[in-house]
Amino acid sequence: MLLAALLGAARRGTAVQAAYMPISATKFVSVIATEPDASPVTIAAYALRSEPVTNAEFLAFVTTQPQWRRDHAPAVFAESRYLAQWQAADRLGTNALPDQPVTQVSWFAAQAFCESEHARLPTWLEWERAAAASSTVADARNDPAWRQQTLDWYAHPSGAALAVIGAAPNLFGVRDLHGLIWEWTDDFNALMITADSRDQDDPDRLKFCGAGALNLRDRDNYALLMRIAMLSSLQAADTTTNLGFRCARSLTEKTP
């Protein structure tokens, strides 16, 4: 098994480019009611990285951009636990396998990595749209079996070591959206949730200018609600042991 991991690492090390899977434009009903009226929102065409960014890939990044090494990155961009699971600032060691998704990365570091691939972090809507797909349909969210399968992961204790990337792809050819890690989104700081977002007569009207905090629809979709709650609680320099990322690119495709 160790051998397999090493071979995987060697293959990945020589991989030319990460794959970005094209996903067409669509109208999409998000778990977040982004607008007061509950109409679907338009998501433009984009391409999403087929897998989360791995330790090996992130190591290659900090090697070419040493300002993002854990011993160089300013505290305002990455807190003290940034890449703390690596053996050294320039070495993975035994606690961070090359093919494991990189975690303990801040939003700023994730953005910088994506920029190095001429990409950006996906928006929440882009992530949610891709993550709604099963292996056969683009929107499996109302399929109880699929729902239960995605939810099972969240019930696992998070103490166990992270698996390596490479679970079965979904309809878009994207892997590991569920069941491996939490993921940063570009607009993590747009997910403003109040304790009780049913209250339209918003006590936070002063705190949140405009229409107030987000409403959540589809309250049975616990898997997504947990992700939103987690992202909305983070600051951009924060890192956690289960939080990684993947990147996205905008596509200039005609809307259907």
Binding site: L191, L206, A211
Partner: protein, 198 residues
């Protein structure tokens, strides 16, 4: 006696804060390395209400009150400017010119220098002590992230955002913040006085 001193101080202050401002050249040019926890680590190119180009880090040297807003906002954003002015007026007379104000727009598409200038004129705020600025969209997201400000653009082109005043020390470190909008937060005023005294 105490009361009369207080009123005298308030009177002098009202004059001092609208008096011709000292220009940016009076701020000392920092030669020491920027601290790792300074907001100025982030490169934010700005254009102000007079169309001048600068970088956020050029504000290094004096304590800074910083917040984010947008000019077409009807409700909270005017209150943010109100609160900043009230907060300045709560400072001791000599102190209000020793702190600067930088506002950055959430809405670069609309908030051109003339749009910013219009608000600056309406609110009688003087450049360069008060700068109303814009930056490009990707930098808006990064600046909000570094300041811990949440915001989201709605389809009707309004923005939801946290309303907060943030105090940076002379080197750009966040030393205090308040989400009390519409009235002066005495704890925040005390922090500004402390930052000025340093």
């Amino acid at each position: 006696m105490k009361i009369s001193t207080f009123f005298a101080a308030r009177f002098v202050l009202a004059c001092a804060c609208v008096a011709a401002p000292t220009f940016a050249t009076s701020a000392h040019v920092a030669t020491t390395a920027l601290p790792g926890d300074s907001v100025y680590q982030l490169d934010v190119p700005l254009v102000d209400q007079d169309g001048r180009r600068l970088h956020l880090a050029d504000r290094r040297g004096k304590p800074q009150l910083i917040s984010m807003f947008y000019t077409s906002c009807q409700y909270v954003c005017p209150l943010i400017i109100d609160t900043l002015q009230k907060t300045e007026h709560a400072l001791a007379a000599a102190d209000c010119t020793r702190v600067e104000v930088t506002l950055v727009s959430f809405d670069p598409a609309t908030d051109t220098p003339p749009a910013l200038k219009k608000v600056a004129d309406e609110r009688h705020v003087l450049s360069p002590r008060w700068l109303l600025t814009r930056t490009e969209a990707p930098q808006v997201r990064k600046l909000a992230a570094v300041l811990g400000i949440q915001y989201r653009e709605l389809q009707n082109h309004d923005f939801n955002h946290t309303s907060v005043l943030i105090l940076l020390d002379a080197d750009g470190r966040i030393v205090a913040r308040t989400d009390k909008i519409g009235e002066v937060d005495p704890r925040f005023v005390a922090e500004i006085e402390r930052a000025i005294a340093r």
